[in-house]
């Protein structure tokens, strides 16, 4: 009797895996430990793909874990009479459980290509809105000056305070001065490593106003944890007004030529 109970106990321990696993994911959104708010145009593609894979893997997870529990529960040597079933395998089953996952995985692979291409391959034909240059441990920003072109003497230099207009494509030119960093904007589902020696384009379209975190997601040294910036998404009008204010501030504090020297940006 005691041995029977022991087998049942262990089987239930294994059943706890799918039960608590599903419970964790079910509770997570209600305690706010879940995907942060998305304010981007392309983010819904990423999020819906996340949910799609979550459901797909969730079904497989529950099915296989429950099956494992059931076999442990049922085929306890103490409960069963006689010897085990002598079977070396099944050709049919092997074919079935090879073909079905293969087809599913292949579908998943093809299905996601479009979202990836939208975020990383179909770059909008436009001049950069802003250049972001990472360095230990801050985000240096360079906006085109009043002349509208980047790389001229009247460029605007800022640190950690990124502003971007909503409802239109923005193109960020991402660089690094020293080591690897990663430009992570959780609320618009953007992440891209900044690599010294490379100029990497990053683009997206924000849909909503608001201010959010810029996080560094690639280890860049002891101060990695504090490499924090803020990004503010605002209407075109507010963005233009903000730019105007910043132009004025920069012009008031220093002559244009000096501004270009100060920022160690090439």
């Amino acid at each position: 009797m005691g041995k029977r109970l022991a087998g049942m106990f262990w089987a239930l321990v294994f059943l706890a895996v799918p039960v608590l696993g599903v419970a964790t994911f079910a509770v997570a959104p209600s305690i706010n430990v879940w995907l942060p708010k998305d304010v981007s145009e392309h983010g819904r593609q990423i999020d819906s793909l996340f949910y799609f894979i979550l459901v797909l893997t969730g079904v497989v997870f529950v099915a296989t874990e429950v099956l494992l529990f059931w076999f442990i529960w049922k085929y306890d040597a103490v409960k069963q009479q006689g010897p085990a079933t002598y079977i070396q395998g099944s050709h049919t089953l092997e074919v079935v459980w090879t073909i079905i996952p293969a087809a599913t995985l292949l579908f998943l692979a093809i299905y996601q290509m479009n979202a990836w291409a939208d975020v990383k391959m179909r770059r909008p034909a436009m001049a950069p809105t802003v250049e972001v240059v990472a360095r230990q441990f801050e985000w240096r920003l360079r906006y085109p000056g009043r002349d509208g072109t980047l790389g001229t003497a009247d460029d605007l230099f800022l640190v950690n305070d990124l502003h971007l207009p909503i409802d239109e494509d923005v193109l960020i030119q991402l660089k690094s001065m020293d080591v690897l960093h990663s430009f992570f904007l959780p609320h618009v589902r953007i992440k891209q490593d900044a690599v010294p020696g490379m100029k990497i384009p990053v683009w997206f379209k924000a849909r909503e106003e608001g201010a959010f975190d810029i996080v560094c997601a690639e280890l860049c040294g002891w101060g990695h944890y504090k490499m924090k910036g803020r990004v503010t998404y605002e209407s075109r009008a507010k963005f233009d007004a903000w730019l105007e204010r910043k132009y004025a501030e920069q012009e008031a504090t220093q002559p244009q030529s000096e501004a270009a020297d100060v920022a160690l940006v090439r």
């Binding site: 022991a6 087998g7 321990v13 294994f14 895996v17 696993g21 706010n32 430990v33 879940w34 995907l35 894979i53 893997t57 997870f61 296989t64 874990e65 099956l67 494992l68 076999f71 442990i72 085929y75 085990a84 002598y86 079977i87 070396q88 395998g89 099944s90 089953l93 459980w97 996952p101 995985l105 292949l106 998943l108 692979a109 996601q112 290509m113 990836w116 990383k120 230990q136 001065m177 080591v179 959780p186 609320h187 589902r189 891209q192 690599v195 020696g197 490379m198 990497i200 959010f212 560094c216 997601a217 280890l219 040294g221 101060g223 990695h224 944890y225 504090k226 924090k228 160690l264 090439r266």
Partner: protein, 609 residues
């Protein structure tokens, strides 16, 4: 059941085998002691040397993990015990110390624990025993493969005490952070020692892998065809092949990084770097080159870190389900498939790196497909349990938990393989959850299954089952408490490797959850005290095991426990596959691989096909 001669004495004479290193006989006590226990060429002694060394490093790696978890849960609060050792102001850790901790936690666990405990400890101990050989093909190389670990132990160990501390560029050592001395305190001597340590681990692995391949190909007992090999041996064989082909790339890359640091060659640094306001290096290099070379080794290494555990778990599951392995050949082919595909998926670590996004798509497709052989293996393990007669030994509990946990680790991998989703979860706790499910909840649980299973063969005594089960139960609970929660933390985008993330508006509410995980991690490490005591106590006081305490059917169970020098007291001859459990018509519930065929069993086997 047991072979004809049952002399359990380890000093059994065996006329048929030539035993190397047995020649120089009476040499006095010390040199005998040295050649038997220290510079031994006996694969079993070398295996145990690997086992003891790696278990000690496992403890160190675990304590490093606790220190990491301490900082994540309660940033900047004084660290108990460790705070006094590496005193900062008030015993709190500095952020550079934190980066060093997680770098060395991963380094120790990967290079000094998982890889050497699988191939070094179990590969060494089991390969000759399970194929019916008296030792490895090259005993001296084998001895060297262990002793080359020592320079690595010393290099990694000493690096904690040099100026600037141990390496702090992450276990992946991405340049320029790792090559540019000005970029981080750990990029001084610590990083140089790290590279040296890595090289020595590589030499050790290479010596081992050459030996394993040769031994498995050439030294199988009569009748032991390739398709009669137990899964453990298949896994060890394919792991050795992976090592042999992937390691040279890492070694070369390591030397290039060393040259960048020592000779300023600039393989991995572009020109015009300005680090810490210092312009440095001639440039002309590419940081992404290192990532390609590093992952060309380190992705196959992921399989080096799991395949042997898969093999051992397959053998343990069949034994305690008293059933043949379901789909032996598909299991072999899927290991081979994993190994082959394993060479063309490395780019999935670089989706966000700046690598051509079109190339990212190819790596995404190959990565999706590598999930397939893992799925096939999982289904076959379930098939093995179906219709079995499960015996709830500690070893079996660990083996079944390997399957349960590997399902989680395998499925979570699909999220990262999906490139668009990876944009969000890359370098968050989601990936931390994923690889801990594969490497801790998977491999480490498999290793415990193997320790409880083969302990009687190693020491002639069995471990305590009651405390073994307590060890299993607590480890299982605490590991899920620690690691499962990481998935949802990753869903928030909670980044890894941050000394303090709570000053971000996005993450500031996650501290209580991290504190919970740290308490679970503390419980998990504390639980290992039970294991340590059980291990040491059972070595000397455990119940004496016969040759075959589990009624298993592999060749190792026909040898004495522990086997003497030369392993077998008679020449094993193999008549059948490794999983003949519950054969209909047989007079006992398992047929050893050495049991000659009889009419009834042959008829039943034919009927089953």
């Amino acid at each position: 059941m047991t072979p004809p001669t049952t002399t359990a004495s380890p000093a059994v004479d065996h006329g048929h085998v030539t035993v190397p290193a047995h020649g120089h006989a009476p040499h006095g006590g010390l040199s005998h002691f040295l050649s038997t226990y220290v510079f031994s060429k006996d694969h079993k002694v070398i295996g145990l040397q690997f086992l003891f060394s790696t278990l000690l490093w496992f403890l160190i790696g675990g304590l490093l993990a606790l220190a990491v978890r301490w900082q994540v849960a309660w940033p900047w609060s004084p660290v108990p015990v460790l705070g006094k050792l590496f005193a900062q102001e008030g015993g709190q850790m500095a952020p550079e110390f934190y980066t060093m901790l997680f770098t060395m936690h991963a380094t120790v666990m990967i290079f000094l624990v998982i890889i050497p405990i699988l191939a070094g400890a179990f590969g060494n101990f089991l390969i000759p025993l399970m194929i019916g050989a008296d030792d490895m093909a090259f005993p001296t190389l084998n001895m060297l493969s262990y002793w080359f670990m020592w320079p690595a132990f010393i290099a990694f160990g000493a690096s904690f005490f040099v100026e600037g501390g141990a390496a702090a560029g992450g276990w992946t050592s991405y340049p320029p952070l790792s090559t540019n001395v000005a970029s981080s305190p750990g990029s001084g001597w610590g990083q140089t020692l790290w590279l040296l340590g890595l090289t020595f681990v590589g030499v050790s692995s290479m010596l081992g892998s050459v030996n394993y391949m040769t031994t498995i190909i050439l030294m199988r007992a009569p009748g032991m065809t390739m398709f009669r090999l137990p899964m453990t041996i298949w896994a060890m064989f394919i792991t050795a092949v992976l090592q042999a082909f992937a390691l040279p790339v890492l070694t070369a890359a390591g030397f290039m990084q060393l040259a960048d640091r020592v000779f300023n060659t600039g393989f991995f640094s572009p020109e015009g770097l300005v680090v810490n306001n210092l312009t440095s290096g001639p440039g002309g290099g590419q940081p992404l080159l290192w990532q390609h070379l590093f992952w060309f080794y380190s992705h196959p290494a992921v399989y080096i870190m799991i395949l042997p555990a898969m093999g051992m778990v397959s053998d343990i599951l069949t034994c305690f389900a008293r059933k043949p392995l379901f789909g032996y050949r598909p299991m072999v082919y899927s290991i081979a498939g994993i190994a082959g595909l394993g060479f063309i998926v490395w780019g999935h670590h670089m989706f966000m790196s700046g690598m051509n996004p079109a190339l990212g798509i190819t790596f995404m497709v190959s990565t999706m497909m590598i999930a397939l052989p893992s799925a096939v293996k999982t289904f076959n393990w379930l098939g093995t349990l179906w219709g079995g007669r499960i015996q709830f030994t500690t070893s079996m509990l660990f083996a079944m938990s390997f399957v349960s946990m590997f399902i989680i680790g395998g499925l979570s991998g699909i999220f990262m393989a999906a490139t668009p989703v990876d944009i969000f979860i890359h370098d968050t706790y989601f990936i931390v959850a994923h690889f801990h499910y594969v490497l801790f909840a998977g491999t480490a649980m498999g290793v415990w299954a193997a320790i409880y299973f083969w302990f009687p063969k190693m020491f002639g005594r069995t471990m305590n089952e009651f405390w073994g089960k307590v060890h299993f139960f607590l480890t299982f609970i605490f590991l899920n408490g620690t690691f499962f929660t990481m998935h949802i933390l990753g869903a928030v985008g909670f980044p890894r490797r941050l000394a303090d993330a709570y000053h971000y508006e996005t993450f500031h509410h996650l501290q209580p959850m991290n504190a919970f995980m740290t308490w679970c991690a503390i419980g998990m490490v504390a639980t290992q005290i039970i294991f340590a005591i059980n291990f040491v106590w059972s070595m000397f006081r455990g119940p004496v095991a016969g040759r075959n305490p589990w009624n298993a059917n592999g060749l190792e169970w026909t040898a004495p426990s522990p086997p003497g020098h030369g392993n077998f007291d008679y020449q094993p001859i193999v008549y059948r596959g490794p999983y003949e459990y519950s054969v209909p018509g047989a007079d006992k519930d398992h047929l050893m691989q050495t049991d000659p065929p009889n009419a009834a069993a042959a008829a039943a086997a034919a009927a089953a096909h």
